[in-house]
Symmetry: C2
Subunit: 419 residues, 2 copies
């Protein structure tokens, strides 16, 4: 037992207490959310052991091939020593990214970019650069579940603003944002095109966000890792296209989805705010450098020919259509038709999506097949929301998606918690 003089709140009043200090994990560690996507894994493993075929529609791991040009750059790696790179990322990679952004009408300099081990690390740098423990970030929900983890990691609070499946998950009205701004609010975070909803924000919606962050001196963090995946002739409008908020915008980006290279772990943050960059650099320097091989792949990937994206986008579009049409043909189910990314959030006639997704793996099979879905509850921060919704990633071929929808339809016919 340790004995300490402890101030119990009254000035001057110290007294000795005995305290049994145990070998405990941290409160933060206890508060860290479990991945809503990965928590079903043991049930899937058990199902596979029983010989059931599972269609994995729960994850953001595309089946699309990584461009040959990126793989070959790594296969042809010549140096004899794998050295640390610059803490902000290899200058040659950052120069290449500057060229890439020119092609999407975004004007940035190499020293406005800090490369991280995935967009995950870049977003953590951004969070910690602009927010302290107790500060608040506003995020339209449903949102990418790991934002909760990064927020807990950085000790900050997520203030969700509800966006509804009935509007296809459009940006909530400006009043909803303003109602939630306190003196602790430091930033608004959007993901565009959106994971998990696939929603592509319009130019007008972006301009609304600009007006809010300008008026209230907030940062606007824009996660645009799905930028290339837009459909129906719609074009992506970036937070970096907005005028007058150069100092407010922090762009988060990555090669993971764009080039189907999730495992290279290369993402980055961009800011034209010099204080943001010089501060984020201190976090980057502490961990020395991002992965060298991944950077080599990423640099080469920028030269991926347009034909790759044309093919990939066409494929995703066919998949989206198969999923959206398929779900809307299921009795009492509803799926918006989003214009971006490779996810949809669908509404199903069920009591509880967590229970339903587990039941699909534990207790159901149709012709010895089942589907693995992500319960949408994990993408909401407000308790109770998303209970009748699931996220579906369309990362399988059209015929497999069609088979999956058939399985889902049959499952809903017999699910005991059907509503």
């Amino acid at each position: 037992m340790r004995f300490f003089a402890k101030n119990q709140g009254l000035p001057g009043a110290f007294y000795i207490i005995k305290e049994k200090i145990m070998l405990n994990i941290s409160k933060k560690g206890k508060a860290m959310p479990e991945s809503p996507i990965r928590k079903l894994v043991p049930f899937a493993e058990a199902a596979r052991k029983r010989g059931v075929k599972i269609y994995p529609l729960n994850i953001g791991q595309p089946d699309i091939e990584t461009p040959e040009i990126a793989l070959n750059a790594v296969r042809n790696f010549e140096p004899n020593v794998v050295e640390y790179s610059h803490s902000a990322g290899m200058p040659s990679l950052r120069k290449k990214l500057v060229d890439y952004y020119k092609t999407v009408d975004i004007d940035v300099e190499a020293d406005e970019i800090i490369v991280g081990a995935g967009a995950s690390e870049a977003l953590l740098f951004a969070f910690q650069t602009i927010m302290d423990a107790g500060d608040e970030v506003i995020i339209p929900e449903p949102f990418y579940a790991n934002y909760n983890g990064f927020a807990t990691n950085a000790g900050i609070s997520v203030k969700p603003i509800f966006s509804s499946i009935d509007t296809g998950f459009a940006l909530p009205p400006i009043e909803e944002f303003e109602k939630n701004i306190t003196f602790k609010t430091k930033a608004i975070l959007v993901c565009n095109p959106n994971n998990p909803t696939g929603y592509l924000y319009s130019k007008e919606e972006l301009e609304t966000l600009r007006d809010i962050v300008k008026k209230h001196n907030l940062f606007l963090i824009s996660d645009e890792v799905y930028r290339e995946f837009t459909y129906d002739g719609k074009k992506h409008y970036s937070a970096m296209h907005l005028d007058g908020i150069d100092k407010n915008v922090i762009l988060i980006d990555s090669v993971s989805k764009r080039y189907s290279a999730c495992g290279v772990r290369i993402g980055w943050m961009i800011s034209k705010n010099k204080d943001v960059i010089s501060t984020a650099m201190k976090f980057a320097q502490a961990r020395l450098s991002p992965p060298t091989f991944g950077q080599v792949a990423a640099e080469a990937a920028v030269d991926t020919p347009d034909s790759y994206f044309e093919k990939v986008t066409k494929e995703y579009l066919a998949r989206r259509d198969a999923v959206v049409e398929g779900i809307n043909n299921i009795k009492d189910a509803f799926c918006p038709n989003p214009s971006g990314a490779f996810y949809v959030v669908a509404k199903l006639p069920i009591d509880d999506s967590d229970k339903f997704c587990q039941w699909l793996l534990e207790d159901f099979a149709y012709e010895n097949q089942t589907v693995m879905l992500a319960p949408a509850s994990g993408f909401y921060s407000t308790p109770g929301k998303g209970k009748d919704e699931v996220r579906i990633s369309y990362v399988l071929k059209v015929e497999d998606l069609k088979a999956s929808i058939k399985v889902l339809d049959e499952a809903l016919k017999v699910y005991p918690g059907r509503r």
Copy 2:
């Protein structure tokens, strides 16, 4: 301007205040230390532009070749998609690490290992798993400067315990530890062999640490990334060799130094404490996975033949001898003769090592050459310590090291701040 109801400390007394909220970076960001090693970089760049040859003795980037077996594994990467790996690291890599640990008499299981983007990320996982904001970790100083950055990142306080160059930086006496243990102390962190001192802790010193952590229910974080680099016939004794504190020990390790593969960014944490592993896993899952290519290299590297290490250790030993002997031959300079890693901390007859290291780059050259050293002040957490000490990394060939020592000797003869 934003208007808020704010409690000014007296219960019940709320009143409306106007507050101009600016677009500021965080307090944490401001508190993040700059890298003491990298802050001299602009001066080195300027010197190089003037045509001065610089011997870089300031960094931990070895010139030793990465084992061919590791490079070839990446060059032969076959999959067409670079996928996310398991959040804890590829099972095949972790199995291989289990085999590696058998060779150094450490008995671990694959599910006791969590792989990170370098030991840096693994250490951050460990810090956050066991400590909350305001908690304290005791570290003998001088210590690896980036521990300060990771502590600031996690919001925890470093309590340094002074180890003296006069004892060659041996472990401070047990009373020094106990004097610094408060109810907020959660862990002791040691680096063994030590960066920056090169000191190799003895079995007896490790047992002292065991007694302390056992008595006070503390975690013992042991950073052993230099395990293979020991000299003078001395053997490395690991924290995992200690009996009776299985739940307390968290081992930090990496391939960066062992296989001269710093850029692959693969390190890991090991714990036999299931609560620690399951909590750290939540941090690992939030960022999805460690780099795939780096893991491929790391897995192959474990099969590096012993002859590689015999050659490398022999080379480092010759370098250490050249540096230690060289410095001790300089008038009024002193260098202990450490038995591990590839660093020494030397005492020089100077007023201020920060000034001296900058002066070497800005105002000095001998036969158009100079040396780049790391001021030891950056490795102390107590202000004012290490002002007459520098860290030297012996990561250059013996002849270059000898030339560097000559330059240093000449510099000390004319340095205006000589004492």
